[in-house]
Symmetry: C2
Subunit: 359 residues, 2 copies
Amino acid sequence: MRHDPIPCADRVGRLRSGFPETDALLILSEKNIRYLTGFTGGDGALMAGPDWLALLVDGRYVTQARAEVPGMEVFEFRKRADGIMAVARRNGVGSIGFESSVLSVEEYLRLKEALPEVALLPLPDAFQLFRAVKDDGEIDRIREAARIAGEALAAVRGMIRPGVRENEIALELEYRMRRGEAEQVSFETIVAAGANSALPHATPGRRAIADGDCVLIDYGAVCGGYHSDETCTFVVGRASERKREVYRLVLEAHDRAIRAIRAGVSCGEIDRIARSFLDAAGLGSSFSHGAGHGVGLDVHEAPRLAAGREEILRAGMVVTVEPGVYLPGLWGVRIEDTVLVTEEGCEILTPSSKDLTII
Amino acid sequence: MRHDPIPCADRVGRLRSGFPETDALLILSEKNIRYLTGFTGGDGALMAGPDWLALLVDGRYVTQARAEVPGMEVFEFRKRADGIMAVARRNGVGSIGFESSVLSVEEYLRLKEALPEVALLPLPDAFQLFRAVKDDGEIDRIREAARIAGEALAAVRGMIRPGVRENEIALELEYRMRRGEAEQVSFETIVAAGANSALPHATPGRRAIADGDCVLIDYGAVCGGYHSDETCTFVVGRASERKREVYRLVLEAHDRAIRAIRAGVSCGEIDRIARSFLDAAGLGSSFSHGAGHGVGLDVHEAPRLAAGREEILRAGMVVTVEPGVYLPGLWGVRIEDTVLVTEEGCEILTPSSKDLTII
């Protein structure tokens, strides 16, 4: 599948227009650099002045950078801070706004010492929501990633039975996603059975599924750099009344949150809807993370759907909705979809059924 | 295979003894926290006072932290900076030494504002070499990772032939490593054919191998958290005289560097030996990265074997040796082993033959 080309010039222009008084912007996060230029390598920097751009990379990435970003100046450095200094001096820069959530204190102190005449301006939140609204090309990629992932899960569903180990299922699921043309998996797949399902970020281990277990599978695929993110929780064999009840409550929290999503609603409000429902059911303290997060070039990106977050959902944002209830030492249930925010509501991009499935 | 338990108390004692005048140390890197405590989760912090320790984690990791680090206080936070402040205040801390290569400027500024009475001391290099000398349990894990990886490569060797795509080989190789009980792969496997082999960090794509191609495979497995790292470059079909010649020169640079490794030699000297040999052959400018790096809980860690590095190799360090020559637009050759430094020399841990292999 071919995707639309990346509208780099538009994106850089939009970025620059947010900081008319800063001589240069210093972009350091790999994903922001990729978003703005198409460069897929690592350890680089992008500097953007009012009428100049420079992509700074180390020797390993020079050839790749020239191929991926034709027409942009590629500056080779040995130490990144030295490269930043050289480009800043050459362009007579008096102030640099930088991603303060990415730059380390070590590199910051080095830059400050070497560029005493330059004002270094931390921009903690400047880039937070910059990538949050997706264009059609980005949505296509996420949709395709979700489809590839969902087909892979359907293909390994038959493995979810007593005696099979968590890591065997995780391995086959990842293998299927990549055979299905995912370029990568979104993150290390979580397959958590029994008491492990009560760990929101369990690593698949050698635990074998037992009759009656909850099996929580949190997984995703990457397509054209864009991630999907979905969680299904299955019950194997006998499902106790308590498990059915908790599943029903988590699903209701999930459904209520999804029904509330549309452009104009705050992120905190979505979290509040899921959380207050579980609170009322006496399960609020077992829901130990936010209700969701943005998904794109990063599997976790802005906005966060968490208590008190005032960011407003806009059409084109892609976010997860993922309430969960975790009973330490016993079991847990999480139900997660990735959805596209629209003016009127949302479209669910992750294809797997979220009805209680007893295998 | 069972491994020795992690000697956490020894390691924390060794760390603390390096900073007798700092009230508390703040450890933020996941791998350093794992090394010191055994906790395998993310986004946490470890604070170490003269006679107290606290592991700070967010809600997702509380259960896991308590299980993995029995006996240590687990402090739950919503925002990490708030957790650090609370623990610092409670322990009457006047100074905190922190990992300045890990802490972001954003979090640093937040801590500085909230703890005006506390001296925040950047420790840029304090932890660099802290994990460099491996104990027997660590060496066992790396050895096992290298064995699992090597067996997987041997199993997929038959796929390396004209018409097969880079990403098909990468996928099968990773699948074999994980079926061979690797808990993860060390990094996204590089399989780079033809002109892609001239990109030191190529991502496997849909390029099919052609007759005469160099096929560069850089890969590794993870076992008990510890990585292996190895690169083999094969030639498929007709090997031109120039390819044979360059291969021979890179292998000689690799062999000379390995013969020079032993406790007491500086890291820069190893790089110099490989580089000066390729320089004399007219290929120095095509060797665009350092000669090697430490391997352990991170696939790239201290020490770096690069020009001018004065760190001294010590018995028990595990490092790669990986000279390469890259001819942009044409092809490249890299040959890499992971070796254990000993008093008298080194032991090669990666099992694959490095002789020129024409398939």
